[in-house]
């Protein structure tokens, strides 16, 4: 064994700072700090973390909302577990909700009613829990879109992106499990759907169904099994993944938007202590406060109006929580395709839109960073975000995805839409069957053109400056608008994105090159230093003669015409 280390005098004495005269606060802190530091080395940690710089942008708050909603879910969820009984045993309801007195209900349903009507503040906590679950998933989706559209998933953040995808998929399952716990008519209908979904899995479906439900639907154990998953298994995994997500965030340091002084080698913003502690901590209370106000004023899941689950009853307009609406829509508009081969049944009408679509979404999301990395062959780290317009094809993909998701979502409410707008339900479904394929393609094309148009606007500003609003009339009678040069900061911001040449070069395979040409070929290339200097020297009519007529694909640089309101030569 090691010999005992020699006692060191310095280590037991709190370090003194001879040059700084300790104020009353420092004096009071010195004792506890020394105590904690001598046992944990916390001072080193504090030195590293306390002044960590975080950049400021509203879109960085989306992930924070997701994180805070999760904390709110833990707090309100613990409250609910104090009274909720995860049991499908049948009892007679005897609580204070008059209309259901004497009705045979499950203990799960009765205890949910008790929380709503007989526990003070119980209804509030239930509604806050449900609203923050909605918000949790919504914020995760929004956060994911922000990360996607700004390219924040690029190296070195691919692993964190995949963790995020896992968090999102687990969040959906977690939400569904919670939705099912009250054992009311609506949630039971949801479970019935899941039973059908599990059954539809080829080969193992029936076995999976019997294992999940302990036999035939609905069985007697599904509520307690979902309860275990909802309050222990999935939150445990979520917690671990969130910890990893945050640890990587801290290690990588936060991404930042392009701007003066921002590079891939630094991060510009405000320190954690005290600015971000107050801002982010305060934002937790804001999210919490708003969610509580929502729970107070906006009714959600009034299960006493649905009644207990009865597998022979259903309400028209039954729908899942919003985040499963797109799967519901896919299930609704899917044609009735089923194979009957020998003594077997293959339910593509349920399996493809249900299991298939969910898998497709998460696989596509999961592999996307590698697809783009393969295209660009870019091995560098990226910490400055891309503006969505700078990567037109990626942005177009994202919008196509949103449109596809939304069309499926509309399908999930086709009955409500038919009633509200007095349309034929069948027509809506048939139109959507085509729209979910055509819509994303149109969205892709339109978005890409919009992005390229926005790139041209940037180009115009870079080369010709910003419109001054001053119209000049020339001696021969032509009118033109005076342009002022933009600031260097703006010019730096507009030229900070990466470009990937689509010319053959070493180490780029032919297919990679073709893919890159398709992906990046239509983008405007940013002006070179020489072009910018030439444009600056030529002044307000220096837009020609610099050879910058197009981007190599026949797209003329915008701006030439826009400056002259009327041509003096005509």
């Amino acid at each position: 064994m090691a010999k005992p280390a020699a006692l060191s005098e310095e280590r037991t004495v709190p370090p003194t700072e001879p040059e700084r005269v300790p104020g009353p606060v420092l004096k009071r802190l010195a004792g506890p700090t020394a105590w904690a530091d001598e046992r944990t080395g916390a001072a080193g940690l504090g030195k590293y973390f306390l002044r960590k710089v975080f950049p400021d942008h509203w879109s960085f708050l989306l992930g924070e909302i997701a994180l805070y909603s999760f904390i709110i879910l833990l707090l309100t969820g613990v409250f609910l577990t104090l009274w909720y009984k995860p049991s499908m045993a049948e009892i007679e309801y005897e609580g204070s909700y008059q209309l259901l007195r004497g009705v045979a209900v499950s203990e799960a349903f009765a205890s949910t009613l008790d929380i709503s009507f007989d526990i003070r503040g119980g209804l509030l906590m239930r509604q806050v829990h449900h609203w923050s679950a909605m918000l949790f998933v919504a914020a995760m989706f929004a956060h994911m879109l922000r990360v996607f559209f700004t390219g924040a998933f690029r190296k070195p953040r691919e692993i964190n992106w995949v963790i995020g995808v896992a968090l999102l998929s687990l969040g959906l399952i977690e939400g569904f499990a919670g939705y099912s716990l009250p054992d009311d008519l609506l949630s039971g209908t949801g479970l019935r759907f899941v039973d059908g979904l599990i059954r539809s899995i080829p080969v193992i479906g029936t076995w999976a169904e019997f294992f999940v439900f302990n036999g035939e639907f609905p069985g007697d154990l599904i509520i307690s099994r979902l309860y275990m998953a909802h309050i222990l298994l999935i939150p445990g995994i979520l917690l671990g993944l969130i910890a990893a997500h945050m640890a990587l965030l801290v290690y990588h340091k936060h991404t930042q938007y392009p701007g003066p002084g921002r590079t891939d080698k630094n991060v510009v913003g405000y320190p954690l202590y005290p600015i971000y502690m107050a801002k982010a901590g305060g934002f937790f209370f804001i999210v919490f406060g708003v969610t509580v106000l929502m729970g107070a004023t906006m009714q959600i899941n009034p299960l006493w109006t649905y009644g207990p689950y009865n597998p022979s009853q259903v309400t028209a307009g039954s729908q899942p929580d919003w985040y499963m609406g797109w799967v519901e829509g896919a299930i609704r508009i899917m044609p009735g395709w089923e194979w009957h081969i020998g003594g077997t049944t293959w339910s593509w009408n349920i399996f493809l839109p249900g299991v298939g679509l969910l898998t497709l979404l998460f696989v596509l999301l999961g592999v996307y960073p590698w697809v783009e990395a393969w295209l660009t062959g870019d091995k560098r780290e990226h910490h400055v975000l891309e503006r969505p317009r700078a990567n037109a094809t990626r942005t177009a993909f994202g919008v196509a995805g949103i449109v596809c998701f939304s069309l499926f979502m509309i399908g999930g409410g086709n009955d409500i839409i038919a009633v509200m707008f007095n349309l034929s339900l069948n027509t809506i479904s048939v139109v959507l069957r085509w729209a979910v394929f055509i819509g994303p393609v149109l969205a892709f094309i339109i978005t890409k053109r919009i992005c390229i148009a926005l790139q041209r606007t940037d180009q115009e500003r870079l080369l010709h400056g910003s419109e001054s609003g001053v119209i000049q009339r020339s001696p021969v009678g032509g009118y033109s608008e005076d342009h002022r040069p933009i600031s260097q900061g703006e010019a730096y911001t507009l030229t900070h994105h990466n470009e990937y040449p689509s010319l053959p070069e070493e180490g780029v395979s032919k297919r990679q090159l073709q893919a890159r040409r398709w992906f990046y070929g239509d983008n405007m290339s940013k002006p070179t230093r020489a072009e910018l200097e030439a444009a600056a020297h030529h002044g307000h009519d220096g837009h020609d003669g610099d050879g910058h007529d197009g981007d190599g694909n026949g797209h003329e640089v915008a701006g030439r015409e826009s400056r002259e309101l009327t041509s003096s030569r005509d």
Partner: protein
């Protein structure tokens, strides 16, 4: 996107810099002007604005105890059976007031803290250098060396079987873990399926009863166009989850249609009583109870996913995602004129499953 002009391509050919550090200037045509300093905030420039921001923040925090005490008072003082109407909303007073006071109290803590940081704390932006995510090359080599050295120290190189047998030992431990889950539910073997999902409690002579009152249904009472939600009479013998399981399969709808306006195939000519037909209420899609009845068209629509079945044509699918006809229950009348089943459903009811033999289901045009 590249210029065919030539010389600048090599300048902007960023890939060649992969892995090496390179001045930003070459990739980016505009020089970095450095962080621009924001003009001073209003609260810094104007003492009055500073003071009012100070008042605002303190005001936010000062209101929190007021609201918190109000919450406690409301908790004990407001009874549960008092209601408030706000517009068209009918609120439980206790719930609403507890929520408003708690929500506002929490919100004000947040608003105060954020405004403190935004308006009154130092607002100098700071720049922090980044490090690359990767360790240095030396560190990486050192780490690999350590792993290699450790491997040497285990002597696995000479005694390979230790590693292999350990991996095998750990691998086989999956088997007990997996087997422990084999009792998650009964195994749906052919025999078990025949006793569970492939049968219902319907059988010869079982009366059809109203699903709420359990009153038997007199054939003579059914009018043309009428639909009755029904259950087997023996469902009353079940309780708890057994009741749910049986109800989830046995639920039926009974409709009477004008025999001249519907098609009844030869094979099913004895399954109805003067145009009174009975079908499973459980959708063949994912098992929702179907209940939306169109009297004129004889269509039955599932409210979950809108599969539509034609009850005037042996329950075939006319629209929607369902792939199989609704199973029809053969019915007759007993001596007293009440509707009874003459057998169980000829095919399994409810959603499809892999082992389901779907060759016997009725298809449009079958005899």
């Amino acid at each position: 996107m590249s210029h065919t002009g030539g010389s600048d391509i090599s300048v902007r050919d960023t890939r060649t810099s992969a892995g090496t550090t390179r001045s930003d200037d070459e990739r980016f045509p505009v020089d970095n002007p450095g962080v621009e300093h924001e003009p001073p905030r209003w609260t810094d420039a104007d003492p009055d604005a500073g003071r009012s921001a100070y008042t605002f923040v303190v005001g936010c925090f000062a209101l929190v105890p007021v609201l918190a005490i109000a919450f406690v008072v409301i908790y004990f003082a407001v009874p549960e059976n008092v209601f408030i109407d706000v517009g068209s909303n009918h609120y439980m007073a206790q719930h609403l007031l507890l929520g408003l006071t708690l929500g506002l109290a929490i919100l004000l803590v947040g608003v105060g803290a954020v405004q403190w940081a935004r308006l009154l704390m130092d607002d100098t932006e700071r720049t922090e250098e980044r490090h690359t995510a990767a360790s240095s090359a030396e560190t990486r080599t050192a780490a690999i060396d350590i792993v290699y050295q450790g491997l040497q120290e285990t002597n696995l190189g000479r005694r390979k079987l230790i590693g292999r047998s350990l991996l095998g030992a750990l691998g086989i431990l999956v088997a007990p873990a997996a087997v422990l889950l084999a009792d998650l539910g009964p195994w749906p073997t052919a025999r078990v399926r025949a006793e569970t999902i492939e049968r219902t409690i319907w059988g010869e002579g079982v009366r059809l009863v109203n699903d709420v009152t359990y009153e038997p249904i007199l054939a003579a009472d059914m009018e043309i166009g009428q639909l009755v939600n029904a259950e087997p009479e023996n469902l009353q013998e079940f309780h708890g989850h057994h009741l749910q399981v049986e109800r989830a399969k046995a639920a039926i709808i009974v409709v009477r249609m004008d025999p001249n306006s519907i098609t009844i195939p030869e094979s099913r000519s004895s399954w109805h009583v003067n145009g009174i037909l009975s079908y499973s209420k459980i959708c063949t899609h994912v098992g929702c109870p179907i209940s939306l009845w169109e009297q004129q068209t004889h269509h039955l629509l599932c409210p979950c996913h809108q599969s539509t079945f034609d009850l005037g044509n042996s329950g075939v699918v006319v629209f929607g995602p369902a792939a199989r006809s609704l199973p029809q229950l053969p019915i007759s009348t007993d001596a007293e004129g009440y509707l009874i089943a003459t057998s169980d459903f000829p095919v399994p009811v409810g959603p499809s499953y892999f082992e389901r033999d779907s060759r016997n289901d009725y298809e449009d045009g079958d005899a």
